[in-house]
């Protein structure tokens, strides 16, 4: 049975899309057929990591939601766009970067049920092993429904006061949605912090497993979403930590 993994954060700017793209690539490197869907419709961006220009997107998730195409048509095979070939296959279902489309979503919202139906269709039509959902930050209906149908949820947070309470609420809500597997990832941690202490403190505060504590990485910042980190830096400690995250989520 295909697995659905949601990558979520309460606030934006946590590195959620970056983590989602890297996890997707690691799964594909392991030979899986994986799709990553950008449900962050109001501020899309994951297509950049797969070197897919916004203008090159024929159909996006928005088109599917408005009934202008099938979910299959909204999926682009980005496997060949990777810097290093992978054994599996990656499909990207991007969100539109067109301002009119974004404005329409903000104005009218979208039907969460159409979205979840799209997730199911994507799994069957693309014959996926795993579907990775890059969620919209916060807790709106389509995000909660996406989380609810997930087998695993990874909540990204930064060691930032603005993240703590919202992350805590997200953990509680996700618990009520009975997600089988849930873990936190603490991202962009200043290198002066002791990762083990951070892990222990976060675990205790949120009563939730911490899959990884990723230090702030100059290499990641310099890459600036212009590529997939785990491919550019296969031997970097952050890559090793992300592999561990994948192992945690796929249990």
């Amino acid at each position: 049975m295909a697995k659905i993994i949601s990558i979520h954060s309460f606030r934006g700017g946590t590195g959620k899309s970056n983590i989602a793209a890297n996890i997707t690539t690691l799964l594909a490197a392991a030979g899986q057929r994986v799709a990553v869907i950008d449900t962050d419709i109001q501020s899309p961006g994951i297509h950049n990591l797969f070197n897919l220009e916004g203008e090159a997107i024929t159909y996006a998730l928005n088109d599917y939601l408005w009934g202008r195409c099938s979910i299959r048509q909204a999926a682009t095979d980005v496997t060949a766009r990777l810097e290093t070939p992978v054994a599996g296959q990656i499909f990207l279902i991007p969100s539109s970067v067109k301002s009119g489309e974004i404005a329409r979503i903000l104005r009218e919202g979208c039907d969460a049920r159409v979205l979840t139906a799209g997730l199911r269709k994507a799994i069957s039509e693309l014959e996926l092993d795993t579907l990775v959902i890059d969620t919209h930050p916060g807790l709106n209906e389509e995000t909660m429904l996406s989380i609810a149908v997930s087998h695993a949820l990874l909540i990204i947070m930064r060691p930032d006061r603005q993240d703590y309470e919202g992350t805590g609420v997200t953990v509680e809500v996700a618990g009520a949605l009975n997600v089988p597997r849930m873990a936190l990832l603490v991202n962009k941690v200043p290198t002066s912090f002791d990762p083990d202490e951070v892990r222990e403190r976060v675990t205790q505060t949120f009563n939730c497993e911490v899959a990884a504590v990723l230090p702030h990485s100059d290499e990641m910042m310099l890459l600036a979403s212009a590529g997939i980190f785990v491919q550019r830096y296969p031997d970097h400690p952050v890559t090793a930590a992300l592999k561990q995250v994948v192992a945690t989520l796929m249990v």
Partner: protein, 239 residues
């Protein structure tokens, strides 16, 4: 030839022999202390460190052979070199003394040049042995320090003596201390910084906020929808 320095214990029951020998050794630069029999000498050996013993054999109270036997039975005195200086020239006595651990054996009257050479050679051997012993003890301190670092019980000052050595071992100890100090400082710094990572979350308010979402009929409907979706996905998988 080594420097004529060191503290020697001259053990002889003849006052004249002791004075003559002591005078000669003093002239060569040694510090000399006298004892008139084995018992007195053993007591003195346990009170302060000596570098060499010049020992007569035939003495009242405790003779030289018995004193040698007791010295070799005492771990603190076992390695102190002893040169026997005796009027006895029979081979049985020489063999017995050598077997008991004497470093050398000279018969009276002795040639002062020969005695000087043998004292000098014995002291040199002792110095080499002491140095080797000290080196091994200090190597053991460094290895113990490595184990202490692993156990988190390392005390930087435990390597002070080793770090004063001018050789490679001393350099290793100094680098070890320097690295340990740096790590310790860094740990302290990190501890202070981690302490500044305060995750202040009002758990009650957090739960209240979560409950405001999860206890709504909208959320209950969402839960039902989610369950329905899961069931459908599961059925799709089975078919």
């Amino acid at each position: 030839m080594s420097d004529p320095t060191g503290t020697l214990l001259v053990v002889d029951d003849s006052h004249l022999n002791r004075v003559r020998l002591s005078y000669s050794l003093n002239q060569q630069g040694y510090t000399v202390v006298q004892a008139e029999n084995g018992r007195q000498a053993l007591t003195m050996l346990r009170q302060q460190p000596y570098d060499l013993v010049l020992l007569d054999i035939m003495m009242p109270e405790m003779d030289g052979a018995e004193m040698l036997r007791r010295m070799k039975a005492d771990p603190a005195l076992r390695n102190l070199p002893v040169i026997v200086v005796s009027a006895r020239d029979d081979m049985a006595c020489v063999v017995q003394c050598i077997e008991l651990g004497a470093e050398d054996y000279l018969t009276k009257p002795f040639d002062p040049v020969l005695l000087r050479a043998r004292i000098s050679a014995s002291l040199e051997k002792k110095r080499l042995r002491d140095n080797e012993q000290a080196y091994l003890e200090q190597v053991a301190r460094v290895t113990a320090a490595a184990a202490a670092v692993e156990a988190g019980t390392f005390d930087v000052s435990s390597l002070d003596a080793v770090a004063r050595r001018p050789d490679d071992l001393g350099q290793m100890a100094r680098v070890f201390q320097q690295m340990a100090r740096q790590v310790f400082t860094r740990e302290q710094q990190l501890r202070r910084q981690v302490n500044s990572l305060q995750i202040e979350v009002d758990q009650a308010r957090m739960r209240r906020q979560a409950a405001e979402i999860t206890e709504t009929s909208y959320f209950k409907d969402l839960q039902q929808q989610a369950q329905l979706l899961r069931d459908e996905m599961s059925q799709e998988h089975e078919t």
